[in-house]
C-alpha cells in the first residue's frame, strides 16, 4: 500500500523534503512507519522521542494501523501563539 508522508517545520529541513510517498506492506503500524522514515532520514531519528505523529487531521498512537492512501504527518513540538 502507499502512504503519503509529510514533514513539518524543521523536520522538512532534516529530510530535505516536505512530502514523500512510501510503499509499505499491509498491516504497517504508525510506529513501524516512523522507524522506517528514521532509517531513511537519519537526522529524524535524533528527534524521535519528541516527534508528534498524526494521520490526517488527528493525532494517533504508535499502534495505529495504517491503511492505503493514509496521509501521515511527522513534526516537532508545536509552537502556536
Amino acid at each position: 500500500m502507499i502512504i503519503t508522508v509529510q514533514f513539518w517545520s524543521y523536520f522538512a529541513d532534516y529530510t530535505g523534503c516536505k512530502k514523500t510517498e512510501i510503499e509499505t506492506e499491509n498491516g504497517t503500524t504508525l510506529a513501524k512507519l516512523h522507524e522506517r522514515v528514521c532509517e531513511q532520514f537519519p537526522k529524524l531519528a535524533e528527534a524521535k522521542n519528541s516527534t508528534l505523529k498524526a494521520v490526517g487531521v488527528n493525532y494517533q498512537d504508535d499502534d495505529f494501523m495504517l491503511s492505503d492512501g493514509d496521509e501521515v504527518s511527522f513534526f516537532p513540538p508545536v509552537q502556536g501563539g
Binding site: 509529510q6 513539518w8 517545520s9 524543521y10 508528534l52 498524526a54 490526517g56 487531521v57 488527528n58 493525532y59 504527518s73 513534526f75 516537532p76 508545536v78 509552537q79 502556536g80 501563539g81
Partner: protein, 130 residues
C-alpha cells in the same frame, strides 16, 4: 456556542475585531488575549517570526478545543485569529476573545484555549535573526 476561527497571513486588526463583537443576551464578561511577537527569542535579537501551519489539521484541532470548552463552561462565543507567515516584532500573531456570563469562566476558558493550543495545534515558528 458561536465560534469563529481565522487562520490567515493578514495582519490582525484588533480594533476591527472589537467593533464586530456581538454580545449575546445575558453575557457579562469578555476576555481578550493578544500574543505579540517579542524582539528576542531566547538570547537572540529577532526582527520577525515566520509562522507555518498544517492548516487543515490546525482547524480540526482548534475545533476539538472549542468543543471541550463548550462542554466545560457556559461560554457563548469564542473568536480566534492566528496569523501565519512573517509577523514583525511588536505585532500580534494571536488574538483570542471569549464571551461568557461571568468573568471567572471567561478567564478560565480563555487560558484553557491558549494552553491547549500550545500543546496540540500544529503551528510552528521560525525566528528571523536581526
Amino acid at each position: 456556542m458561536k465560534t469563529q476561527l481565522t487562520i490567515s497571513i493578514d495582519p490582525i486588526d484588533e480594533a476591527a475585531l472589537v467593533k464586530r463583537r456581538e454580545m449575546g443576551d445575558g453575557m457579562g464578561a469578555v476576555v481578550c488575549f493578544s500574543g505579540v511577537v517579542r524582539g528576542r527569542e531566547g538570547h537572540a535579537s529577532i526582527t520577525a517570526i515566520d509562522y507555518e501551519a498544517h492548516e487543515e489539521m490546525a482547524r480540526h484541532q482548534f475545533g476539538l478545543i472549542f468543543e471541550a470548552i463548550e462542554q466545560r463552561w457556559p461560554v457563548d462565543s469564542v473568536r480566534l485569529v492566528h496569523r501565519l507567515g512573517l509577523v514583525p516584532v511588536n505585532e500580534p500573531s494571536l488574538w483570542v476573545e471569549v464571551i461568557a456570563p461571568h468573568r471567572a469562566e471567561a478567564f478560565a476558558a480563555c487560558q484553557f484555549l491558549i494552553e491547549e493550543m500550545k500543546q496540540k495545534v500544529p503551528i510552528w515558528k521560525k525566528p528571523l535573526p536581526a
